[in-house]
Amino acid sequence: MRNTRRPHPSAWLTLVGFYLVLLAAVLFVLVPFLWGLSTSLKSPQEVLATTPHWIPEHIDFGNYGRGLLSEKFLRFMGNSLLAVIGALIVSLTLAVHAAYACARLRFRGKDLLLFLLWSTIMIPTVAIIVPLYLLSVNLQVYDTRFAVIAAYSAMLVPTLIWLLRGFIDSLPGELEESALVDGCSPVKMFYVIVLPLLRPGLAAASVLVFLTIWNDFLLAFSLTLRDENRLLQVGLHSYVTEAGIEWGPLMAATIGSTLPVVIAFAFLQRLFIQGLTGGAVKG
């Protein structure tokens, strides 16, 4: 315990090393973003300069007009938003009821049904995209909003039930009991007492729904065909054509559709982390 007031020279070195490692990690994370951002702000000629440079010689917002804000891309983003809203309504309604049934109600075959439900969390999307595409063709719902919303809702529901059940388990049961004793019907009690208390859980669940659909490529690709139904990520993918990629507008669209999510994440980290980990990490 010697010399506690003045840091030892080796402590200084440790501190410097500590920040250097963190800065290196920050650089690793930021470099792909910054290169994309830089490209999105360059003129077409400058993008094709054979000596790459990080700072654009003059800032050109043209790529944002031709990429991010083009009629086509705005439609893709609008489609994604509509799918998010549709899936929010369907999946949260179904999941919050089922989660309450899991946590508090008894019904026949519950153990088996819950086992089946949790086992679906282990089914990777890639294992079912091809038959799901065939199914949607057979049911004549291929390339419709209905198919997209139903598929995303189903993919999300098991995780959402898991997440919301955790929130219901943490509610004090006495509240519900005393409502029943006071003569409230069990069904009404769910809507009047339980549902309002689940607001934090529903917020975390909403973040998961939003992020899943905004970021997903595979399901959207499998279930849609025409531009008028395509979602954001499939739209980005469609910029990559055999004729070659126009990197300026593509990076404008890429950065422009990703940055708002990253900023939202910065302000709502707790919710994002709760949602993304299915409630496993409280954030």
Binding site: V47, L94, A98, A101, A127, Q233, V240, W247, F272
Partner: protein
């Protein structure tokens, strides 16, 4: 209700029992009404295609229709004659490389971030950010960064004598792994950070006073305490990486010369590019079996640890 019952014992005994039975029936009905809509949707969208894939995997395909029963011939064909084993091998390289890099990176950064410091919120936010970026965007950003003609890494590549990264058969897999590490280490970091909150600071302080170095404190005290959370993170990363299609599809499409054609990508290509539905289904069933096998093995490891 309690007071009512103590006031009139015996005489009204049947009254509350009957109403309780009635409300129990209502609760049961509520259970069905609350649970089944969700379950039926999941069954229709997940179980039906899953059974279709399993059914198709043991039948020949007649374009989009299911043909005659062929037993395990599709599996034998895919694994022995159609590059299936090679695809699985590439999946193992991709997963192994990603997990071996992402785990120490995620844990290391979590330990650094767990110390009190300036700008902690900033560092934490930036370092978790790749988690909320889509696989497709991740692939696009890195594809452009790796570009061998217009990308910023070419000076560095030239000095190292590397002609190309993502378009070179020798470097494509390594480049892909680095990209995937960028996308997947935040999950390990977030799980580790959460677990570190549960490590009692007194234990660490006591070890410090006893003269244990930071390195020793980490290996002997911190790591054993966060071990189970870390295992969950590693399993999630493994499965997530094994099932990854989009990043690889956009960056290499399995090339060059099949150098990055992992099993998950094979499903996508057979189903949506070559329309060989029986091969797609067979590869999908293999992926599912490998997912289940890995998860079960993991559960055993967790259980044996607790015993």
């Amino acid at each position: 209700m309690n007071t009512a019952m103590t006031q009139a014992p015996g005489s009204t005994m049947s009254q509350p029992t009957r109403s309780r039975r009635g409300s129990q029936a209502l609760r049961l009905l509520q259970g069905y009404a609350f649970f089944y809509p969700a379950f039926l949707l999941v069954a229709a969208v997940l179980f039906v295609p899953l059974f279709h894939a399993i059914w198709q995997s043991v039948h020949a395909a007649d374009y989009m229709e299911i043909g005659r029963f062929v037993g395990l011939a599709n599996f034998v064909n895919l694994l022995m004659h159609d590059g299936g084993l090679r695809d699985i091998g590439l999946s193992i390289v991709f997963v192994g490389g990603s997990v071996l890099l992402a785990t120490p990176l995620g844990v290391g950064l979590a330990v650094l971030l767990n110390r009190p410091m300036r700008w902690r919120a900033f560092f934490r936010t930036v370092l978790v950010a790749p988690w909320v970026v889509s696989q497709l965007v991740t692939g696009l950003l890195w594809l452009w960064l790796y570009d061998d003609r217009l990308g910023p890494l070419q000076a560095m590549m030239q000095s190292l004598g590397i002609r190309a990264l993502i378009t070179d058969p020798d470097w494509a897999m390594a480049s892909l792994i680095l990209t995937n590490v960028w996308h997947s280490y935040p999950l390990v970091m977030v799980f580790t950070l959460a677990a570190l909150q549960t490590v009692p600071s007194e234990v660490i302080e006591a070890a410090t006073i006893d003269g244990a170095s930071a390195w020793r404190r980490f290996w002997r005290i911190t790591l054993p305490l966060i071990r189970n959370t870390l295992k969950v993170a590693v399993v999630l990363t493994t499965l997530h990486t094994f099932n990854t299609v989009t990043t690889i599809l956009i960056m290499t499409g399995g090339g060059p010369a099949g150098a990055t054609e992992v099993l998950a990508l094979r499903v996508f290509k057979e189903g949506f590019q070559f329309f060989r539905m029986e091969v797609a289904a067979t590869a999908a069933v293999l992926i599912l079996l490998l997912n289940i096998a890995f998860s079960l093995a993991f559960v055993r490891v967790l259980k044996s640890d607790h015993a």
